[in-house]
């Protein structure tokens, strides 16, 4: 059993979000609505040594599988994350999160004057110019969004 496995151990049924960029586990919890009152066991490992990432975070959630919009939001903050669905201690599905080229509605433009923040029926739309560090360009106003503009929106 590896050191990593020892730190935050196996769950029976649920989701393991692994290879979260180090330091982002708490933001992932926020995306998933895991604040004070949560049902089911949740375990979190932060700054766990990782061969590929240097330091990684991971989140294990017993008894819950993620919705696709939750996976999309995780991709914004942790583009290397993998999502493992566990049933009866076995990984039955594994997917890498991935950023689409265009992101619609998931995040709001940080430029308050942008038309997507007005009362007009306009859905926020961004082009992913770079994944890490994250760089999103607003379709409407050209504003460049970076990672630090995102977490407080969730």
């Amino acid at each position: 059993m590896s050191e990593t496995t020892l730190r935050v151990s196996k769950i029976r049924d649920g989701t393991v979000i692994d290879h979260i960029t180090g330091g982002h586990a708490l933001e992932v919890l926020k995306i998933l609505g895991i604040t004070d009152h949560v049902d089911g066991v949740v375990t979190v490992g932060m700054n766990v040594p990782s061969k590929t990432l240097g330091l990684k975070d991971m989140v294990k959630i017993e008894g819950r599988e993620l919705k696709s919009e939750e996976v999309d939001k995780i991709a914004l903050l942790a583009p290397h994350a993998s999502i493992n669905i566990i049933r009866d201690y076995e990984v039955i599905d594994k997917q890498l999160v991935r950023l689409p080229k265009i992101i619609k509605e998931t995040v709001k433009c940080a430029n308050p004057a942008c038309i997507s923040n007005s009362k007009e029926p306009v859905k926020s739309t961004f082009y992913v110019e770079n994944e890490e560090p994250l760089r999103l360009r607003c379709h409407y106003c050209g504003y460049i969004m970076e990672k630090q503009d995102i977490p407080n929106q969730f």
Copy 2:
């Protein structure tokens, strides 16, 4: 090895905060300043079944021992918590957190008109009327503080 031990496993050196009232682990992290960028491995278990508490949370912090003012703050939110200092995988010190009868300076009065919130040289002072649910009475204005008044102060 018990189910609990399996979920969040042993650390080599550092602090284990155990028997945190279920749902309060993230507030404990906040008290300890563990937000996004933290040095060293931190593991968190939430809603772990406990014989005495029903559900408990726990936090394990590698390579760090707590200051007494941090322990005092944890006592406000998790009056049943135990703090274990670990060296070389062994518990070398174990202490129960405990609320003093009078709390000075640790928290601010939630009544904005209280003299302890003015520019006067007055230190906040509360009498602990009840531990759980928490009830603190302000020495100056008599305002009753409850648990929900506390977390946003840290």
